[in-house]
């Protein structure tokens, strides 16, 4: 395998790193929006922990992206000074929080994919990527354990919780296909042995999702039309509102710190 590796262009590598980092950043920010509003104190703290884990991972990924890019930008500058079109996150993670069912289902569908990605990245040819992935994997293993458990409890819960989880699953399903689409950037980093092709993660993701949905008595929506574009910077209108809040301070007071 090593003999067939092809070196990757720095711009492409940086682009790929932004995709990984932006997923963590945007989902981390979304989850942090629950802080102080969750249905129970214990859930509030658990969600804040998840948000902090994701934002911590984003710092590492975007830090490396900035380093690889070599334009003198920092992780903070990437996070707070890019406009929506500059973000490379999946459309799934920018979906609004909705009710608690929407938030949990989004988390579960993402976690089940995230863990497979991080496990595969542990053997990346780039030691920096492998190191970040190894640290993140432990955090994400817990995220998945928690979100899967809650999806099962609420799916197989009261008629109301089941109906809400079912609605959340149906509305988010059309945003899952993008996780497994391969484009030229993915092909290039895969050829360099840095990361797996997204399409290779699908079988393991489906196995996890099918097992959890079955236990949660929720029906897999199956083959449906799928959205795409987030990875290439084409986003839904929701991302703009999220960035307006997340970036306000750095936009209004450039360079502010504490």
């Amino acid at each position: 395998m090593t003999s067939t590796l092809q070196a990757v262009d720095g711009t492409i590598f940086a682009e790929w790193l932004q995709r990984v980092g932006d997923n963590s950043l945007i989902l981390g920010h979304r989850v942090s929006e629950w802080c102080g509003h969750a249905p129970a104190l214990e859930e509030d703290i658990a969600l804040a922990n998840t948000a902090l884990d994701l934002i911590g991972q984003c710092q590492l990924w975007l830090g490396l992206a900035a380093e690889v890019e070599g334009k003198g930008r920092s992780a903070d500058q990437l996070a707070f000074l890019r406009d929506a079109g500059g973000f490379r996150n999946l459309l799934l993670v920018e979906r609004p929080n909705g009710d608690f069912a929407q938030t949990l289902m989004r988390q579960f569908l993402f976690d089940a994919w995230h863990i497979e990605l991080l496990r595969a990245l542990a053997t990346s040819t780039d030691p920096r990527v492998a190191e970040i992935a190894a640290k993140a994997e432990k955090e994400v293993a817990y995220h998945l354990e928690r979100s899967a458990d809650l999806v099962i409890r609420l799916g197989d819960g009261s008629p109301e919780s089941h109906a809400r989880m079912d609605k959340a699953l149906k509305s988010l399903w059309a945003y899952t296909g993008e996780m497994f689409l391969d484009d030229a950037t993915d092909q290039a980093v895969a050829k360099a042995g840095i990361a797996p092709l997204p399409s290779t993660l699908k079988a393991a993701w489906e196995a996890t999702v099918n097992a959890v949905l079955a236990e949660a008595t929720l029906e897999n929506p199956g083959q449906t039309w799928q959205h795409k574009g987030g990875k290439q910077g084409i986003h839904s209108e929701h991302l703009g509102f999220l960035l307006a809040e997340m970036q306000f301070l750095q936009r209004a007071y450039p360079g502010a710190s504490w």
Binding site: A40, L41, E42, I45, A46, D149
Partner: protein, 95 residues
């Protein structure tokens, strides 16, 4: 609302260097498994623990504060129960 409240659990954590689990506080959870998860999220955020015990608060039987006198005061005057009256040979070293 109060009828639907999750039951209360008492949380015990064994720290990095501790041999025993210590009571750290309480929280609400629908069952024992979620009480452990919630305890992980609420009480071990700063690397406090290596093990968690949870027990339903209702399952704890406590001594009554009004019986404090008869329960505890009799031992006040019995200093000889402290093992401080023995000469320890130097060879034993620190105990």
């Amino acid at each position: 609302m109060s009828k639907n409240e999750w039951p209360l659990w008492e949380i015990f954590i064994r720290g990095q260097h501790g041999l025993n689990h210590r009571h750290v506080g309480s929280l609400h959870a629908p069952d024992a498994e979620m009480a452990i998860r919630n305890a992980r999220d609420v009480y071990t955020r700063r690397n406090e623990g290596v093990s968690i015990w949870v027990v339903r608060s209702n399952d704890i039987t406590a001594s009554s504060p009004s019986e404090k006198g008869p329960l505890f005061e009799p031992s006040n005057s019995k200093v000889y129960r402290h093992p401080t009256f023995f000469d320890i040979p130097d060879e034993v070293g620190h105990m």
